[in-house]
Amino acid sequence: MSSVVLYTVLMLSALGVISAVVLYFVAQKFKVYEDPRIDEVEAILPGANCGGCGYPGCRGFAEAFVKADDISTLFCPVGGNETMGNAAKVLGKEAAAVDPMVAVVRCAGTPEHRAKTNAYDGAKSCRVASSLYSGDTGCQFGCLGLGDCVDVCNFDAIYIDEVTGLPVVDQDKCTACGACVKACPKFIIELRKKGPKGKRIFVSCVNKDKGGVAKRSCSVACIGCGKCVKTCPHDAITLENNLAYIDFNKCKLCRKCVEVCPTTAIWEVHFPARKPKVEDETAQPVSEN
């Protein structure tokens, strides 16, 4: 009886040793060298695997980051400058600071500004709705409000306001990964510079119709009048296809354009309240954008 136990133990031990030797040589032969810094960089990254950097997950970014000679083109929008600085330290490099960005919803067409012209009761998806027709208001460019942007947000940073029916971005949670930008079939959401203390100015409209048509379909549409272009002292505003666009790299946040916009399509957010003026202040939409 004891001999059976003994042989079994010996046999298994011998098998173990032989396998270990074989495995050792095989492992040597097929060894794949992997830069240990990739693991280090990956550990620093947020691990959200959101794809906002353009690479498949954080690991993919870490690999590209370690391999790259020039790291200035690589940026993790979720981690921001701090994460990038730490990651660059691993490589003994310096990461250039990038202005933080935030998703901005460029549509202000609440039901009060933009009357419903029909009702949609198909699949609750903006992609489906926009493949079927132009939308439930007169504006073919405006937000459909079915929440594709909300569905794709990994950071719980965007929600549909029940009253306005429009998406609202929580700028503290938004990481500027760009998932909502890609999800929006109407190309309404844009990544813009977050601005000092969140101060930013943008045209909250993407309507390319001619002035009269745009105005008829939505009272706060950009009518392409060009007043803002003329007013801007910094040459930051361009007018194309009846739509004004503010270049956030040129904008100095002087707010002159906001004052002249006849339809209040240009928004200023997170600015201190203006000194009391004759103008009606409630006309200026307050937003979290």
Binding site: N118, G122, A123, S125, V128, S131, Y133, S134, G135, Q140
Partner: protein, 443 residues
């Protein structure tokens, strides 16, 4: 037993309310807006400018590429603008707007109603004339007809199939055309046969139109090589591939065109348009539109000039009734709800159906219970429940493997789904995405 296709299919209530109404010529509108993209393929290039005087039948937009179609003025008058106009989906697309002045036709058009049987043109000349006349598939798909007639090298057409199925419920425009323009249809078929160099033409008609079957069978005896076949009523038999299977029992392979099995399919409306184009030099600028609905005052079939506002067509049938929930452009199965009735009638507008509010509302979608009804009714043998999920999850490569490109968007799956899931909505979306991927790969 009557013939039909072999897999799937549904039988929705027929509701052919307007079947007994003769085709009435709609009075001229005050203004027409003629979109420059009314067909599948590249939009045409406008060849008129604002302020130009045009006559009925005059070319106003030139075909732009192989798969494209000429567009002709449907009225005489002055070009008011060339601007984007809201189309049936609500999107604004370029269109030529013409203010109507009188009704002066181009001199080359033969306006007499006499039948002209003799056609001495060669196949190439016929195809060229069809192309010039801007004829597109009149069943609703609006594929340029001259492309279908140009048989690719190495392929041979064996049989011409004429689609008089009209399997969509409510629609009766093809039915009326068969009854009222039987002789023109037969001559049109002879011309199409000549263009394709085939000897036989088969007309497929569903058995719910016995008057059309008997009428055409009788007319067909005067012409050689035209057979009329009655088919079992089964939706979507009007689909090209289903009709080929039903009539000649051949299956078009996945991803291939009907010419692969030697068949070319044309709609009855297209055949009549070909007759008018070749024999009477009349381009395609008007079509028969069914205007119907259970609570509509006078469900009718109108001969409408292309570009007429839909609101005017409906007004002629008694106006939009109160309590209308939806007006559908096309048949109730494949058509799309109009977002505005100000949009114009185009070459593909086969019908306009008004639905009362209680019928228009979709039922609340519930969870899929994996009953498999969608699979059993799919006429292309696909798995709609799976494609629906894949599309929602954006798994487009997998969708391609599941042959989503074979989907004919007939809507049988959505019609049959006991959970009221918007299956086709998502499948159509996924199909478009897969289409983009496939085209990008080829490019």
């Amino acid at each position: 037993m009557l013939k039909t296709f072999s897999i799937g299919g549904v039988h929705p209530p027929e509701n052919k309310i307007s079947a007994g109404s003769q085709i009435v010529v709609l009075p001229l509108p005050k203004q027409v807006s003629i979109p420059i993209a009314q067909h599948i393929g590249a939009p045409a290039n406008a060849v008129v400018t604002k302020g130009d005087k045009v006559k009925v039948g005059q070319l106003i937009a030139q075909s732009n590429g192989f798969v494209s179609a000429n567009i002709h003025s449907s009225v005489s008058g002055t070009v008011a603008s060339i601007d984007p106009v809201m189309d049936s989906t609500g999107y604004k697309r370029p269109a030529i707007t013409i203010t109507v002045e009188g009704d002066e036709w181009d001199e080359t058009i033969d306006r007499s109603t006499d039948l002209k049987e003799e056609c001495n043109l060669t196949a190439e000349e016929i195809i060229a004339k069809v192309g010039q006349a801007g004829i597109v598939g009149m069943g609703g798909a609006t594929f340029p007809s001259q492309v279908k007639l140009s048989v690719p090298k190495g392929k041979k057409a064996e049989v011409l199939i004429i689609n008089g199925v009209e399997c969509e419920p409510y629609l009766t425009s093809d039915h009326r055309v068969m009854l009222e323009k039987g002789h023109e249809l037969m001559i049109g078929i002879q011309i199409l046969k000549k263009a394709l160099r085939v000897d036989t033409a088969l007309i497929g008609i569903e058995n719910n139109k016995p008057d059309a079957i008997s009428h055409l069978s009788q007319v067909a005896t005067k012409y050689s090589g035209i057979e009329v076949h009655a088919l079992k009523v089964q939706y979507p038999q009007g689909g090209e591939k289903q009709l080929i299977k039903a009539l000649i029992n051949r299956e078009v392979p996945s991803g291939a065109l009907p010419i692969e099995v030697g068949a070319v399919v044309h709609n009855v409306g297209t055949a009549v348009a070909v007759y008018e184009a070749v024999q009477k030099s009349k381009p395609l600028f008007e079509r028969v539109v069914t205007v119907t609905g259970k609570h509509l005052a006078t469900p009718s079939n109108f001969l409408v000039r292309i570009g007429t506002p839909i609101s005017e067509v409906i007004a002629a049938a008694g106006g939009v009734p109160e309590n209308t929930g939806k007006i559908v452009n096309g048949g109730p199965m494949m058509g799309k709800a109009l977002s505005s009735i100000d949009s114009p009638v185009t070459k593909g507008t086969s019908g306009l159906i008004a639905f009362p509010a209680e019928e228009a509302k979709r039922k609340v979608a519930q969870a899929c219970v994996r009953c498999g009804k969608c699979v059993s009714v799919c006429p292309m043998g696909l798995e709609p429940y799976l494609l629906n999920r894949l599309s929602q999850k954006k798994m487009f490569e997998r969708m391609e493997h599941e042959h989503v490109l074979d989907c004919i968007e007939c809507g049988s799956c959505s019609f049959e789904c006991p959970a009221n899931l918007p299956l086709l909505d998502y499948i159509r979306l996924g199909k478009a995405e897969v289409g983009k991927i496939v085209r990008a790969r080829k490019a």
